[in-house]
């Protein structure tokens, strides 16, 4: 391959990216008192495994179940509400399950996270309910003219 300006630029960018990566990895292992490499590995690999082996199959199964029990145009709304609910509940899981708190330090995790999760989920499903109602009304209006006298 002839070295064209674009190839040189690409190579330089790749080299810079690899250098930055190497710097980060070196820091991960040389300052292990702060980075805890085994914990970092557990988090980086564990998150991938949980996503691929648990989150994706569960999402797919819920999606399949919804295709059986909910018909368009309502299905997308229910799917969306489930996705948002699951994402919010998972992202806040350490808080509403009380993980990672520091005993004797009430300023860590000081809020009623279970109640707050219930409020957020309530708002999500109330919103979904409004969208479902709007779609139901629209569907009835659309059906209206075709059901006129023949």
């Amino acid at each position: 391959m002839r070295p064209t300006p674009l190839r040189v630029l690409r190579g330089a960018l790749a080299a810079a990216g690899l250098a930055a990566l190497g710097y980060g990895v070196a820091g991960l292992f040389t300052t292990s008192r702060a980075t805890h490499p085994p914990q970092a590995a557990r988090w980086l690999i564990g998150a991938l495994l949980v996503h691929d082996l648990v989150a994706v199959p569960v999402t797919a199964l819920v999606g399949i179940a919804l295709t059986r029990f909910v018909r368009p145009p309502y299905r997308a709304v229910v799917q969306g509400a489930f996705l948002v609910s699951g994402a919010v509940a998972l992202a806040s899981l350490p808080l509403w399950r009380g993980y990672g708190g520091s005993p004797g330090n009430p300023t860590v995790n000081p809020l009623p996270y279970g109640r707050n999760l219930a409020i957020v989920l309530g708002a999500v499903w109330a919103g979904a309910g409004v969208v479902l109602a709007v779609r139901a009304v629209q569907a009835r209006r659309r059906q209206g003219p075709t059901q006129g006298p023949t």
């Binding site: 008192r33 808080l95 004797g104 300023t107 000081p110």
Partner: protein
């Protein structure tokens, strides 16, 4: 929207929840300093060309200043507070420490990566930098560093050394 703050789902801290309305990263119990900090024989040492030591009463009798400065924690939260105490630079001057000197502020903690911190001249000489003995109108809570803590502008919270008992010229 402050009235929504109590409904927060994803925040592990509230900037206004804690002793003296300020969150705590490391408590006195966790740092193992309760007995040392409450010891009536507490002395603050300033080590320089003219070293001296002060008891708590003498420390509180010094000219006090107030500064409105935040604790900006590397955990990702920040909270403003009003601090009261002598200026660090006045203490350094009294010990004959020259303006260009860096000092090390040492905590009563016996272990931990942040048991002391270095204060370079721009911070050490800043008029807002205090060795605070008071917080938000009361004596410093033990979880906030009683009897005295460093508080300086533009400095991460872990370097605002708590339970200070020695300031050493480097």
């Amino acid at each position: 929207m402050p009235w929504l703050a109590r409904l927060d789902l994803l925040a592990p801290r509230r900037p206004d929840v804690g002793p003296q309305r300020l969150p705590v990263n490391r408590t006195a119990v966790a740092a193992g300093v309760v007995a040392l900090a409450r010891d009536l024989g507490y002395r603050l040492e300033i080590v320089g060309p003219r070293p001296f030591a002060l008891g708590l009463d003498e420390l509180r009798a010094l000219e006090e200043h107030t500064a409105r400065l935040p604790i900006t924690c590397v955990e990702g939260w920040a909270a403003d507070a009003t601090w009261r105490g002598p200026r660090l630079r006045d203490l350094l001057d009294a010990a004959g420490i020259p303006p260009g000197a860096t000092v090390r502020v040492e905590s009563l903690e016996t272990r931990g990566g942040y048991r002391s911190s270095e204060v370079a001249p721009p911070h050490a000489r800043d008029p807002l930098t205090l060795l605070a003995t008071g917080l938000n109108g009361a004596d410093l809570d033990i979880d906030h560093g009683y009897p005295a803590r460093l508080i300086a502008p533009n400095r991460p919270g872990v370097l605002q050394t708590k339970w200070v008992h020695r300031v050493v010229m480097l």
